[in-house]
């Protein structure tokens, strides 16, 4: 079973990974975006890490709702409301339980991903974070490791796609040939989840 501490470690691991990869995310965002994805997410997850240290919610749902709210408040770009909605809706779906199962998490995360699709209007194939998140959620029924692989493959598979959402969509065919920064950061979030699960299970 997964407790609040597991979810806090997942968020901390994501913050560390985003910090490590911030320059790469911003570099991916330069040709097709406005070159702020790494710095925006870095600011957001740093704020998530500190609010979780300060408030320490005692349920998995509480951790994700607080983290999501913090991202919406601090990121300043579209990734704030999108990742914020992902975490908050996943957290709300987990409810007040003190511990949740892998299956509960998989089902809640699917609710969160559907909320992101409703908010931003993106579907698979639009060259967005959805292209990493949907395959990850599908694979999460098998294992955390499978979800990580699926998210990473999904992110890589955005390279030949033409963007249909967000600023990159204005570039039309010129968006082809670049890996989507949002799908790349989504894969970091899923990888951090898999890492956290591996550490806690030895």
């Amino acid at each position: 079973m997964l407790d609040a501490d597991f979810f806090r470690r997942w968020m901390t691991a994501t913050a560390a990974s985003v910090e490590r990869e911030a320059d790469r995310l911003t570099a991916l965002d330069s040709p097709i975006g406005d070159a702020d994805h790494g710095s925006n997410l870095h600011r957001g997850f740093t704020a998530v890490r500190s609010v979780l240290e300060k408030e320490a919610p005692d349920t998995p749902g509480g951790v994700l709702v607080l983290a999501g709210r913090q991202l919406i408040s601090t990121v300043g770009g579209a990734s704030g409301p999108l990742y914020g909605t992902l975490l908050r809706r996943t957290g709300k779906a987990l409810g007040d339980a003190a511990e949740v199962s892998d299956t509960d998490l998989a089902s809640a995360l699917r609710t969160g991903v559907e909320a992101v699709m409703a908010l931003g209007g993106a579907a698979p194939g639009d060259k967005t974070m959805i292209d990493a998140l949907v395959p990850a959620v599908d694979a999460l029924d098998r294992s955390f490791a499978a979800a990580r692989t699926a998210a990473e493959e999904g992110a890589l598979a955005t390279t030949p796609l033409q963007a249909r959402k967000g600023r990159a969509s204005y570039l039309g065919e010129r968006s082809i040939g670049h890996q989507d920064p949002g799908a790349t950061s989504a894969a970091l979030l899923v990888a951090a989840l898999a890492d956290t699960a591996e550490v806690s299970r030895g």
């Binding site: 406005d34 702020d36 925006n40 709210r69 919406i72 408040s73 300043g76 770009g77 579209a78 990734s79 704030g80 409301p81 999108l82 914020g84 909605t85 908050r88 908010l119 931003g120 967000g166 600023r167």
Partner: protein, 136 residues
């Protein structure tokens, strides 16, 4: 006669300069004596380009007179941030609504309509109607 409480208008842009200039433009075109509360929420809290949930919440609270708040946005994160705040339930005053409208023309239509004492639905409809104004 009971005093008519005006609908509040919040203008959210990636740029603080754009948000405040559009607010000034809409107020100016609404004419003298128009008592419509209008607040810009532009850029990030540190003055950069982007969207600040905090500035949006402050602006909405500042213009709320109890008759609802119409929020107009430019694009991308401005739209998504307002939608995410509305989904939260308690971040914006009751009766706050994201209006689907072109930013500049919609802001002028919203402020002029609100200045007549119109309700939130009428203000939102007038702002959305601005999409139908063709320029060629």
């Amino acid at each position: 006669m009971a005093e008519v409480r005006p609908v509040g208008i919040v203008l959210v842009s990636h740029s603080a300069a754009v948000a405040s200039a559009v607010a000034e433009l809409a107020r100016g075109l609404a004419g003298v004596g128009a008592e419509v509360p209008v607040a810009p929420a532009g850029g990030t809290a540190d003055g950069g380009l982007g969207t600040s949930a905090e500035l949006i919440a402050e602006a909405a609270a500042a213009v709320d007179r109890g008759a609802g708040v119409a929020v107009l946005t430019d694009l991308g994160s401005a739209v998504l941030t307002v939608k995410a705040l509305l989904a939260e339930g308690d971040e914006l005053p009751e009766g706050t609504r994201l209006v689907d409208a072109p930013f500049v023309e919609g802001a002028v239509a919203a402020v002029v309509t609100a200045s007549t004492g119109a309700d939130l639905a009428a203000v939102a409809a007038a702002a959305s109607e601005a999409y139908t104004y063709r320029k060629e």
